[in-house]
């Protein structure tokens, strides 16, 4: 092991000010001690922080939709925060149709041993769009794609916003929305007909198969098949 290898010990930036991990007991339902980052956020982004909730000891900060990326970038970069791990990006839709859809970011700071939940509200009847945090956390790529796939929320600035779980030509809508019927919108035979018309190998691009790089080494027959537009090798 090289000398430069430094094991990351959670909470090392706190210099012993944070208690070692233990099972929390007697956690109040509400009005517990908030995450110190919530107060820092209020100080830094006074006009963007809408509300701070503490439920079962976990802090939720409701922020302005337009300034999510700015806030997340500050939480990631600021030496007093160092939220270096994005554990989840997801959304919540409530059965009450008047309540807005919430987009949720779960942020974790390993150096400070903190957990912070950011939320932003997307009212119904407006385009569902929030800024992508892919610029800060590359791991947000698939999380945001899944959220787009399931809820139809557009993440502006995402480099490759396609469906992740459902196939890309899926036409029935966004499955986790409350107005989506459990069995889908089409009949079973129509669902089967559409999916069986898909080519199971079509999602591999030529770049992924690295055929283009090796084009000169291909046989004449293979080259002719590629020239004629064949997308799969069988």
């Amino acid at each position: 092991m090289s000398d430069t290898f430094l094991p990351v010990v959670a909470g090392h930036a706190e210099d012993g000010r944070v208690a070692p991990p233990s099972t929390p007991r007697n956690v109040p339902y509400q009005n517990g001690a908030p995450n110190p980052s919530a107060e820092a956020l209020r100080a830094q982004f006074a006009d963007a922080v809408q509300r701070v909730d503490v439920v079962w000891g976990e802090t939720t900060v409701f922020v302005d939709r337009a300034r999510v990326l700015e806030i997340v970038r500050w939480l990631h970069d600021d030496p007093t925060q160092q939220y270096d791990y994005l554990s989840d990006v997801t959304a919540v839709e409530y059965r009450d149709l008047d309540r807005p859809i919430e987009v949720v970011w779960h942020l974790r700071s390993l150096p400070h041993r903190r957990f912070l939940r950011l939320k932003t509200l997307l009212p119904k009847g407006q385009p569902l769009a929030v800024p992508s945090v892919w610029d800060v956390y590359k791991g947000a790529d698939w999380l945001e794609r899944e959220c787009y796939d399931m809820f139809g929320i557009r993440f502006e600035g995402h480099p490759d916003l396609r469906r992740l779980l459902m196939w890309e030509q899926y036409k029935e809508g966004y499955p986790l929305r409350k107005d989506f019927p459990l069995r889908g919108r089409f009949s079973r035979s129509e669902q089967l007909r559409q999916i069986l018309a898909q080519n199971p190998e079509a999602k591999y691009s030529m770049e992924e198969l690295t055929v283009l790089e090796a084009f000169d080494e291909l046989s004449l027959e293979q080259r002719n098949r590629l020239r004629s537009g064949e997308k799969v090798g069988e």
Partner: protein
């Protein structure tokens, strides 16, 4: 293990009074005996049924006793497709392609409730029984089936193989899907068997 050790009745009539020729029936018997006892499975495990399938293949239950110890991870060398677990719609064209890549003679075992009927996953994402995509020979019920259950299904399949006759060309007929619908069976039938409990009611019964 409680397995039935009685002599299995073969479907091929080898009695001297049979109208078919002695050579054909003897040849049928020999070929079927060979095929039934050396089925190479193509494991298509997608869920918890695959765990039970692995247990079946492992030492305690020992699938090798049935000549099936050689898992064929290429469909082109496989005889029997064992679909263990739920099949989401996204996998439907994949399992169809695998089935089409398998050479004749080929059989299919649908292992577990999900593969046979969609099981508890009566939702937008799961195929309601793989028999809406590919023909199935043996359905093994259970959630997941115990290894004994799968072995019983395999023995049922072996009995079915032993009753096949080479003269019956219809067994090897590969049904071509309708290019318009991409389906083997008519859409109306798919909608019917995809109703809740539909597949359990309408499932075809084997002659065993």
């Amino acid at each position: 293990m409680g397995l039935d050790t009685r002599r299995v009745e073969t479907g091929v009539d080898v009695s001297p009074s049979s109208s078919e020729s002695w050579v054909t029936t003897r040849l049928d018997f020999l070929v079927n005996w060979g095929r039934a006892n050396s089925l190479w499975p193509m494991p298509f495990g997608t869920a918890c049924c695959a765990i039970e399938f692995m247990a079946t293949a492992a030492s305690k239950f020992d699938l090798a006793r049935f000549g099936m110890e050689r898992m064929s991870f290429s469909p082109r060398q496989a005889d029997v497709l064992i679909c263990a677990g739920r099949v989401p719609f996204k996998l439907a064209p994949v399992i169809r392609r695998i089935w089409q890549q398998m050479p004749q003679p080929k059989w299919c075992i649908s292992m577990g409730a999900c593969a046979s009927s969609g099981g508890m996953f009566d939702n937008y994402a799961v195929v309601q029984g793989i028999d809406t995509i590919i023909p199935v020979d043996v359905y093994v019920p259970g959630c997941p089936p115990r290894p004994e259950g799968l072995m019983y299904g395999i023995m049922m399949l072996q009995e079915k193989v032993k009753k096949e006759r080479m003269a019956d060309k219809s067994l090897r007929n590969e049904m071509e899907p309708d290019p318009q619908s991409q389906l083997y069976i008519p859409p109306s039938l798919i909608d019917e068997v995809s109703e809740p409990f539909g597949n359990a009611v309408h499932q075809t019964r084997s002659g065993l």
